[in-house]
Symmetry: C2
Subunit: 307 residues, 2 copies
Amino acid sequence: MRIGIDLGGTSVAVGLVDDEYNVLYRTSAKTAGCKTDSELFEIINKCVYELFEISDISNDKIDSIGIGCPGSTDLERGLVVRSGNLPLSNSPVVSILTEEFKKKVYLDNDANCAAWGEFNSGIAKSVHNMIMITLGTGIGGGILINDKIIHGLENHAGEIGHIVVDINGKRCACGRIGCWETVASTRALIERVRSEVKQVPYSIIGKVVAENNGYVDGRTLFTALKRGCKVARDIFEDYLEMLSVGVLNIIDIFRPDMIVIGGGISKEGDTLLLPLREAVGECSTRIEISSLNDNAGIIGAALLYKK
Amino acid sequence: MRIGIDLGGTSVAVGLVDDEYNVLYRTSAKTAGCKTDSELFEIINKCVYELFEISDISNDKIDSIGIGCPGSTDLERGLVVRSGNLPLSNSPVVSILTEEFKKKVYLDNDANCAAWGEFNSGIAKSVHNMIMITLGTGIGGGILINDKIIHGLENHAGEIGHIVVDINGKRCACGRIGCWETVASTRALIERVRSEVKQVPYSIIGKVVAENNGYVDGRTLFTALKRGCKVARDIFEDYLEMLSVGVLNIIDIFRPDMIVIGGGISKEGDTLLLPLREAVGECSTRIEISSLNDNAGIIGAALLYKK
């Protein structure tokens, strides 16, 4: 029995994973607003203890703990060097958890954990070369070659969201111009929806936004699409083009057995997948949606001991 | 003792490679104008026999033959499926050479051979993760991860020249829009030189071109640069920017130990390398120029047996 911790920019999910890689119990909590390591780990530790309580499985039954963190990680020293939306800065994540639970603790970044989860127990179980693309605020990547996660120097490989696709485009938070995530992340999609809705507030998508008190998220577009909104259709088509440009780049670089799409909007399933496959065109690389969904990061983290 | 064959779009180079990976003898011939497999292999075979003659080493001393081919290769069946500038189309390259020389014959694509050569006996000898970038008519790539060349499905990995960097750019021969090679290949550089020289024929670079009877190649720009040409300086700066965009993309994807730049204009050495490093900025990935130059493909092909 193992613990997998999936730390995100605004929340953390913790799961108890059995030897068949099933998430038996899971719990989660908000982490937004945390200002220090100790505030953050107070929340994380509480989640783990909560898990022990609801599962009636005690700490001495746990073989190891794995944690996936966003941002830049130093695997040798067990640190999160820095993380965009969290207070972590050279934070000794591994030693903090080891001290609390007296277990062997494994660390990797969140996209690598998701890839490792899908490879060990999800849609990518039968493949040897796979790229996981996580669509969220940014675009993350986990690269699996010959059954191994590729870390690169300083664990910096997989920054596929920062492949420049538009040399005359917008500046990205990373400093480069026209990164893929500036046009194909969920944030980019949300920004486009907001700007279109300002132009045509009386469209179906405008009404969807109004019904949500002006709130726009990754689901907004898909809700409007299902109601037959023409404006939403146009936005979606442009988005698919931008998404497919980057997916095709990855195919040209790796020609992997499989590309797995994860992250929030991957929950739209075939609504996203089928037109994406069509936009990519005929190709030997299979394109699939994450089959573990929210649990990919938890399972991957719990299985980091196998790396 | 092994034979390495480096087949290019317009010429072929053949070398005799000893057990310390030195090219003892080499020979080459033009292949442009060949219309069939048999015309092409008549030239290649002649080169090999010529090598036996000048080296006074006979075929029975040869352990194996390796051949690197441009285009799309089917390694399992030993075929070149198709090749842009050569008549090869589902050509049974391996069986043609086996039949002629009665040796074990190994095949891979040209950029993979160059990468394999640099890894085994060139600048990348001490590294485990390396990307070879060959700058020529197009931009080729050889990807080495954990000491292994990455082939991808249908041996199609490494098409780094077709990473789209300019979604609003020019159409590439491959059909996509704004591929890296449309802005950073030697062909792109030559086109830019031609168009600038038309605008400012009385510039230094204009004179360099006039002295060469209007002929422009990869060296033209560098000759003008050395003579202090302002126009050449501007062209070079733009080119470096385009080159560095793609190099940074590769760093973001792989964060490899090393990137090795090969192909014709890599012979410019520090004139190209130092400003490229500056354009890329501080980075843990080493950027180097091929140390085997013209012999990288020959050595890599001869060493394919080690893969």
